[in-house]
Every structure is written in structure tokens, then in C-alpha cells.
């Protein structure tokens, strides 16, 4: 189809979709007047039933924990898909590990980064790791949780890349343990669920002692699942970064004369 025809087709259809959407939106409850019983019921119940002060994470990892298991595996299959698509092909020279293929930033201009920036960025790396772990383990108390903490943890090695500390970056990101952690994090969530089955209750029942509200070790399986998810998300994002980096580097190697 020519681009012009496609635009006309889309314009007509978009009017239709806009009309349907607005017709629906005009009939919705007024904005700011949330009435629904589901949210209010959970907000009243979560602290007493699960000793978790962050009701959003109580919903994510307990009341609707089965949905989150599915979502975690969407992440797992997307990461596996990236590894599948960007896998090294037999017969193509791969980027060698170590110093010989040089600095991945070498395709940028050769101006070196100032030492101040390098020192500070490396220091922030340590802080990021601690902050990520803090987020992942405190999800049941305050906003945060496994997904958010995992992303922060995965972004931390990028600071090393920006600081041009590429050896450390590559060592962290290409370690075979990362893939193992990703798989075990994903399996860990489902195995915590199976623990509920083993104790005679339903899948994903909260079977760990609930502890005191406000304590880090509270809310039973919510904290445990959050930690597993944090590990899996961090490892998953690190794998994606590594796969893309390897793809770029092998492309660079092929383009060198």
C-alpha cells in the first residue's frame, strides 16, 4: 500500500477509535472519584492479613501473586528471546574477551574522560548496588520491591561502562553466573509457590511466618518472592546488556579492515 493510502485509511479508522474511546470515557466515573470496592477492601485488609504496610506490593506478590509470576516469566522469555536472536553464529569471528579488542568506547572520539568523573562514577556504583539491594528487600514496607530494585542493580554496571572501567564492566556482565542466577530467580518464585502446595494449601499461599508489621523480615513470602524477583530482574537486564554489547563488538570486529 502506498504511504498516502495508508494514511487515509488510518485517519478514517482513528476517528472511529477515538469516537469509541471517548464514548466510553465520558461514561466513566468522574476522575478523582474512585469508588471501586476491590481497592478499598485490600487497603483495609492487607496490613492485618499480611503485616505488609505497602499494599501495592501486597497485591503484587500475594493477593494477585499468580499474575506477577506470569509477568516475571514474560521477562524471562523476552531475555531468552534476546539471547536466542543475538546468539553467536558458527563461523563468525567473535569479539575476544580481554583487552585486545580494545575499549568499547573506542569507536567514540578519543577524548578521555576526566579523572574526577571517573572517580565519582565508580563511587556511585557502590552506592547504586546498595540502593538496589535496599529497594528489593524493603518492598513490603515502602514503595519498591523486586522489579524496581532489580532494575537499579542491573543499571549499576552501566556506570562502570560510562566511567570507562571496561574491564570490570565486562567481567561483571559476561560472567556465566548471571545466566544461572536469572534461571534460579525465576524458578525460585514458582518453587515458593510449590512450597504452599507441599504444605497442603493452595499454590502461592503465604506459608512463611508473617513477623511484625514494619520489620524488614515481615509479611512472609512477599519478602522472599520480592528478593527472588530482584535477583531475576537484575540478572535478566544484565544479560540483555551483555548480548547487545557483544553484538556491537562483533560488528565492530567484522568492520575492521
Amino acid at each position: 500500500m502506498k504511504a498516502g493510502h495508508r494514511l487515509v485509511l488510518f485517519a478514517a479508522s482513528a476517528l472511529g477509535i477515538a469516537w469509541v474511546y471517548c464514548a466510553g470515557a465520558l461514561n466513566m466515573p468522574a476522575w478523582g472519584q474512585y469508588r471501586g470496592p476491590y481497592g478499598d477492601a485490600i487497603a483495609h485488609l492487607a496490613v492485618y492479613q499480611r503485616h505488609a504496610t505497602d499494599t501495592v506490593n501486597a497485591v503484587t506478590y500475594d493477593y494477585r501473586g499468580f499474575d506477577t509470576l506470569g509477568e516475571e516469566f514474560i521477562l524471562f522469555s523476552a531475555v531468552t528471546g534476546v539471547m536466542l536472536l543475538l546468539r553467536p553464529e558458527p563461523g563468525r569471528p567473535e569479539a575476544k574477551k580481554g583487552k585486545s579488542s580494545g575499549n568499547p568506547a573506542s569507536f567514540r572520539d578519543r577524548a578521555t574522560l576526566s579523572e574526577t568523573v571517573q572517580v565519582f562514577t565508580t563511587a556511585i556504583f557502590g552506592f547504586s548496588v546498595i540502593f538496589g539491594i535496599y529497594m528489593a528487600t524493603h518492598g513490603q514496607l515502602t514503595p519498591g520491591g523486586g522489579f524496581q530494585g532489580g532494575v537499579i542493580l542491573a543499571a549499576a554496571p552501566m556506570l562502570l561502562y560510562i566511567a570507562e572501567n571496561t574491564d570490570a564492566f565486562r567481567r561483571i556482565v559476561s560472567h556465566p553466573l548471571v545466566e544461572f542466577l536469572e534461571g534460579t530467580g525465576a524458578a525460585g518464585y514458582a518453587l515458593i509457590g510449590v512450597a504452599g502446595l507441599a504444605m497442603g494449601t493452595a499454590f502461592l499461599t503465604n506459608v512463611i511466618p508473617l513477623g511484625t508489621t514494619g520489620d524488614v523480615f515481615s509479611s512472609g513470602t512477599i519478602a522472599a518472592i520480592s528478593a527472588c524477583v530482584g535477583v531475576e530482574v537484575a540478572a535478566g537486564f544484565t544479560l540483555v546488556i551483555f548480548e547487545y554489547l557483544r553484538e556491537i563488538l562483533s560488528r565492530e570486529k567484522n568492520e575492521e579492515p
Binding site: 495508508r6 524471562f76 546468539r87
Partner: protein
Amino acid sequence: MPSPALLVAVPLIVAALLGALRRLIPRWTADLLSILTAAGNLTMACWWTAHALHRTQVYWFGGWFPRGRMVLGIGFTMDGYGCALAALAALLTTLALIYSWKHFESGGGHFHPLMLVFLAAMSGFAVSGDLFNLFVFFELMSTAAFALCGLKTHEPAPLAGAFNFAVTNSVAAFLMLTGIAFLYSATGALNLAQLGQALAGRHDRLVLAAFVFLTTGFLVKAAEFPFHFWLPDAHAVSPTPVCVLFSGIMVQLGLFGAMRLYATVFQGCFAGTRIPWIFVVIGAATALWGAMMCFAEHHLKRLLAFSTISHTGLMTLAFGLWSKAALAGLFIYLVGHGLVKAGLFFCAGILLHRFETMSEPALFRRGRALHWTAPLWFLGGLGLAGAPGFALAIAEAHVTPVAPWTEAIFFIAGTLTGAAVLRVGLRVFIGLGDAGPVDRSATVDEKPETNDPGRLVNTVLYFPALACIGGCMVLGFWNGIAGIARASAASFVNFSGYVHMVYAGATVVAQPAPVQSALLKGVLWAGLRGVAAAAVALWAVLHLRIPRPLRWPSHLEGSMRPVRELQSGHPGDYVAWLTLGCALLGAAVFWLAL
């Protein structure tokens, strides 16, 4: 009693462990573990199907039982239709994994985890009783499918096909989420039973808008016209085991999602309106369009993809008739079509493995040495046409008495799709006539998918094809299937029974009275379809011996250039058609219900 959670949990755990230990596990262990997991799912799902014929049961995750009328957690509703589809998914996955034993290129060990995740997602989707949970499993199914579709990375075509698939289905998922948001704002609930009760009798625009977006999302997955453009592209480039799952069960699960949604959430709102006619119209249009395009194709996998589109259109038509007999026929059709289509794809995979091409002209006469595969292919073609002895004929005999004019649509679609397959069989396996017209799309993606192409076909490649075609024929002669279908259809339509199951834990299924079906008339139509398919195939193949004005199959086969140009391969085009379809659906719904 196996826990329903295991249907989803076990494949996911095994997939995660296979992914974690990918570099340590040898190929045979990964193969064996995956096959055993899928076979375990099959056993559990069959057990649950048998159980669901007497009692349908709900399973609450996390032990969150409803509080009064409000549902707090997520539930699985183990009813006949859902458990049977989960069983079909497990059966086809097991056969696909057997097919890919050892010699199939496994993409660095990533193939098996993705297949198991795909199986878990399909099983969960079939039995879920919560709207957002359906969405999550829809996304999980889609993501695993996108990755599996792009497995063959040697050429750009698989990546283009996977990209078109991904963009179209992602847009569909976001439209579905919009619909879910609308329903949530209307009722504050996410459980299907609770939603159905809360919306009963409401016709207002919010409900209609939600219905439009949700149904669009599911119909894109079901590859209905005009949302179907992604399917032939995805099939042309996917590896054979993946094509089997796409055409055998994934597309039909998209339709099942729309069905489940209508039967639980919207049944109370739209009772007495003419909204089911929308499904009839879409189904009929899809069936005829798909059949026409199927006959015009010369790439085997694309041809089979269009026949899937056509038959799923017939299933949508059967659903739109909204009667227990039609739904019973639809049940048999789902299972029978899944088996026949899987068998045909396995045979196509054998051809690809031996001759490294999927183009009908290039395969002309080369299949004459495949003495065992040829009968399966011809039986598959007859099965698609709905010839007597196959499950599809039984299914059509249930559906067409409800509305006799639908027999014409079933006849045309069945004949054209069956004739296309038989035509390919006559050219490739017997060598009648000439090689046929060459077209551009027939040469897409000819790289082999096994490590040692050209090697003689062995048991691992042949057994799944035999099992599928044989299974479809066994179903055609087994009397028990009609009883299972009727019981499942009765509990599917019975919304008050569904609500009772969700809130009280279980419902006893009333055993339906045996129906006196017009057996002789069904067999006659089936025989007529089989004969017509064979005749059209011969007519197309022997076109040189027929006077030019009477050569209509060859015209259908060779021309249709402007129509075929619509399959442009451009994702922007496909999304434009998607928006058109959504707008037209919206117009139809608002016109019929207000």
C-alpha cells in the same frame, strides 16, 4: 487430584531450570525433560477434562477465597472447554518436542525453555477465570511466540516475519488492556464471574467500548479478517514445531478468549441483542477470504497458514450462532482441526528437511520417494475438506443443522482449503500435470531447520505426523467425543452454573440429553465435500487438458495480484488494517446494541 496450579507451575519451573543450566545440560537431557514435562501436562489436563464432565471446579491461588460477593484473588475455572484446550496444547507441544529431538537446531539451547513457557502460558490461558490473568497469559504466550518465530536468524525474512507478528500482537494486547481498564472502572472487579454479574443488563457506552477493545485484542490473536495479515508472514518463516503450535492451538486460543469473555462477562448485557451476529459476519468473511487466499498460495507453509485463517473463521461463525449444538460442534472442530493442521505442518516439515524448500513449483515430483508421508498428506487434505471419517465432518454435522445456510460457507471453505492441500499433494507426491505458476512469495526462507538436512526421514520426524492424522481419524469414529462436546458446551453457556462454581467452589454438570443428529445427511454433505475437494484439485492440476474458459481453479491460483498485494509485509500496513477493523467493529457494536 492433581493441583491445577501444576499445569502452569511445572513447565515454568522446568523452563527456568533448563535456562539456568543451559550450558551444562547435554542436548538429550533437555529434550527428554521437556518431553516428559509436556507429557505430564497432557496427563493432568486429560484428568481434569474427565473430571470436568461431571463437576466443574474453581481453584483459588494463594488461598484467597471470595469475601461475600467480592473476589479477592485469582481463580482457575476447570471446566470442560478450558481443560480440553489445555490438553490439546499439551498434546501438540509433546509431539512438537518429539519432532525436534536431537537434530533440530535448538538456537543455542534456548528453544526448549521457550517451548515450555509457551505451553504453560497456553494452559493457563485456557482455564483462567480472571480477566487480568487472561491478559498476562496472553502476553506470555505472545512473548514466547515472538522469540520462537525469530529462531532462524540466518536470513532477514524470519526477522521481518517475527517483527510484523510482534508489532501487531503487541498493539492488540494494549487495546485489550484498555478494555480491561474500562471494565475495571465500571465495576471495580477483575474476576469474570463477578464482572458478569455486575454488568448484567447494562448497555451503556462504557460497556460497549470495553467490549470493542477487548474483542479486537482477542480477534487479532485469532487472525480474523482484517486482523489476520500477520499470520501468513509468521508461519512462512517459523520453524516447523512452532508453526504446529501456532496453527494448532495458539490462534484458536485467541478465539477462545473472545468466546470466554462473551459467555461470562457480556452474556448478561447482550442477551437478546444481535451482537452475536458480528461473530457470524466476521467468521464468514474470514472463512471465505482465507480459503481464496489459501488456494492462490504456492508456499506450503503460507498455504497452510491461510487454511488456518479460513478454518478459524468457520469456528467463529459456529460460535456466533450461539447455541449449545453449535458450541458442541465447535468443540469437536477445535480438537479435530488442531490435529489435522498439526499433521499437515509436520509433513511440510518433513519436506523441508528432505528437500530444503517449501515452494510448490520447486518441489514438483520430488516427493515421489516419500511413500509414507504421501498418504498422510492426502488424508490431511481430505480431513480439512471435512470428508467422512474425520472429526471435522462430525463437527460440521453438529453445527450446520442450527442454521442451514452456513452449510454453504463450510462447503466453500472446506472444499477450497482441502483442494489446495490435495493439489500440492498431486503435484509433489505424484507428479501429475505441471509444476504450476511461480510467484515471489513461494521462495521465502529456504534454509533448513535441522542439523543434517537431506538425511532420510526417521521415526522422530514421522511419528508426530502419523499421530496427528491418525488421531483426527480416530476422533472421527469415536462415539464418546460427541458426549464430551455436548457436556462441555452446556457448562460453557450456563452462566449461572459458572457463577455458582466460582462462589460455592464447584458445580455439578447436568448431563445433556443425547441428541438425535441427522447422521445420514451429515455423511452425505461430508462425502460431497471430499469429492468436491478432490475434483477441484484435479481440475487445477490438469488445467492444460481443460478448455481455457473452464479453467477457473487456475485463475484463482494464478491471479489475484491486487488482493495478494495487500499482504505487503509492511507492519505499518498491518496496523492500519487493525485500526480499520477496530473502528468497524466499534461501529457495528454501537449500531446493534444501542
